[in-house]
Symmetry: C2
Subunit: 326 residues, 2 copies
């Protein structure tokens, strides 16, 4: 739940004076988004999203995120377009925080994922990867394989209180994942979203009532990493049912639609199971870290790390690409 920074109307009007957006007509805090403060903003020029970047975002990385969004939007990807002020800059400051205004995207994110969401998702993800190919700036994946051992160290003291034996299991799993991880140069690298969960993908029905992607949002984990790792994140985030079972029909639809736009190499298909284990341990570790480091009374919704332990165990047993739909 967001809106950490309360923006006064005077401060917002002064901020808007640096844009050519006309007068302020309305703004409301948005309850979605975890890391930043988001406001739905209406001016005489239309609807926008105002984001204030809170302390978990490194301000020096914001030009990469905003530059990537602008680049992708210019190539036709439906993602928020940063709006520049009169001086041409999109990244500005409000209430002592970095802030930016982006375009508003219509659509609804699926609270319950249906099989027919997966093909449009795969299609959009592949288009994101293609559109990012000529974006020259790079950003290492801070939450990639090199980041997992220190994260696990940070969880060592408190982890077994969440589940007895958890840390020993994660030690074993992480060692196996790192040993099997693709060597540099083997798989194609590019700009990836790295956090494409259902609440970051908006859909609208087309004339035949089939869902189509109307927006991809929240690029604040985007980085330069293995393209197939983004597919693995989506297999984790979109293809499990609420009872913990993996829906291979969803996996096939995702991968098939992705590959129809950007063919996966044999090496990428073969690597998908270990990439899925990596994505599972990445979300497990960050959730576990937050779980064990968040004070009990904090006004933050903690996400269950053990959901991802189940996913990790599933992918550790499903060693063939076919078992996950590839």
């Amino acid at each position: 739940m967001a809106v950490y920074t309360e923006v006064t109307d005077e401060a917002l009007r002064a901020f808007l004076a640096d844009y050519a957006l006309g007068a302020l007509l309305a703004y409301r805090g948005i309850a979605e988004g975890v890391e930043n403060s988001n406001y739905a903003l209406r001016t005489e020029r239309g609807d926008f999203i105002l984001t204030l970047y809170e302390k978990r975002v490194d301000p020096t990385e914001l030009p990469y995120f905003l530059g990537l969004m602008e680049h992708l939007a210019r190539r036709g990807l439906p993602c928020p377009t940063p709006v520049a002020g009169r001086d041409g800059r999109a990244l500005r400051e409000l209430c002592g925080r970095p802030a930016a205004i982006c375009t508003f995207l219509e659509g609804v994110w699926p609270r319950r994922v249906r099989p027919d969401h997966l093909a449009p998702l795969g299609d959009a993800l592949a288009r994101l990867h293609l559109a990012g190919q000529d974006f020259a700036v790079t950003r290492p994946n801070a939450l990639g394989p090199a980041g997992w051992p220190p994260l696990l160290e940070g969880c060592r003291a408190g982890g077994d209180a969440v589940m007895p034996g958890l840390i020993a299991e994660l030690d074993r799993q992480l060692a196996a994942i790192l040993a099997a991880w693709p060597a540099p140069g083997v798989l194609p690298v590019g700009q990836i979203h790295a956090d494409l969960f259902p609440d970051n993908v908006f859909f609208l029905p087309d004339a035949q009532e089939r869902p189509r992607v109307s927006g991809l949002i929240d690029f604040y984990f985007a980085c330069t990493d293995l393209l197939a790792y983004d597919v693995a994140v989506c297999l984790n985030a979109w293809c499990f049912e609420s009872d913990g079972s993996f829906n291979v029909t969803k996996g096939r639809a995702l991968i098939g639609a992705y590959a129809a736009v950007r063919p996966l190499s044999a090496a990428e298909r073969a690597a998908l199971p270990v990439l899925c284990r990596g994505a599972a341990i990445r979300f497990l570790l960050t959730r576990l870290y937050d779980w064990t480091h968040t004070p009990a009374g904090a006004l933050v919704t903690r996400k269950d790390p053990l959901e991802y332990l189940k996913k990790l165990r599933f992918f550790a047993l499903a060693e063939t690409p076919e078992a996950i739909g590839a």
Copy 2:
């Protein structure tokens, strides 16, 4: 902070099929509002607010609230208008909860109250009272004088932990307030908002950049009670500075603009100080009750009850109407 009920897109689309609002284009949870879940909703017919009524609202009282809003809106007051479904009913059900769609109002609520907000506020409050005169349904004020002694009883066990001696002081203050409270029939009664805090009043600047009221929202404490009590609530909620001092210029502007639309009788002016003490103890007691009954880890922002102890003490010393701007 709101959005307690997560509405799936399927459930929302099915719900919208009972309205003539066209297809769903977007919806986002709104971070404002304390009691209910609110969504900003966009359909082919425009923008709306969807409210799901959570457990603190008594469903049998919703027809009064929605009926009053519709009545006031029809008389030109800028307040949310309930939107009826195809069968003519505005109060419906979604995700097992009572739910209603209302029109969206433009405007911005003042995070920092300036003196020039008070005259438009007083004007709008008086118009609300006049527009409500021919609304025949009544609702007793559950948080009026009869409700304060049981509320204080509910705080007795935990109150002194908030501040030593607090309960004894509240016993004395409440007895004095109830002894001085206007007898039935002395002051005019009507439909009052009863919770007209700054976050429930939207403003937009007019052509001369002066604030004008563009919306009054959140009628879920509305009831049938002394009209001047609504003025007393606003004197509490709008006229104190952040250092705890009372700004008599704001008080005069509020009362003056109110009386220009609906003249206050001599009896109402004379009663304002005790009505202000009553309003102060009402918000003090509900905040104290929440403070002492909310588990430490609950995901709810508790409001400081002692802010209203300072206001209560101020009004208890300021016994003349002139001292508060009347």
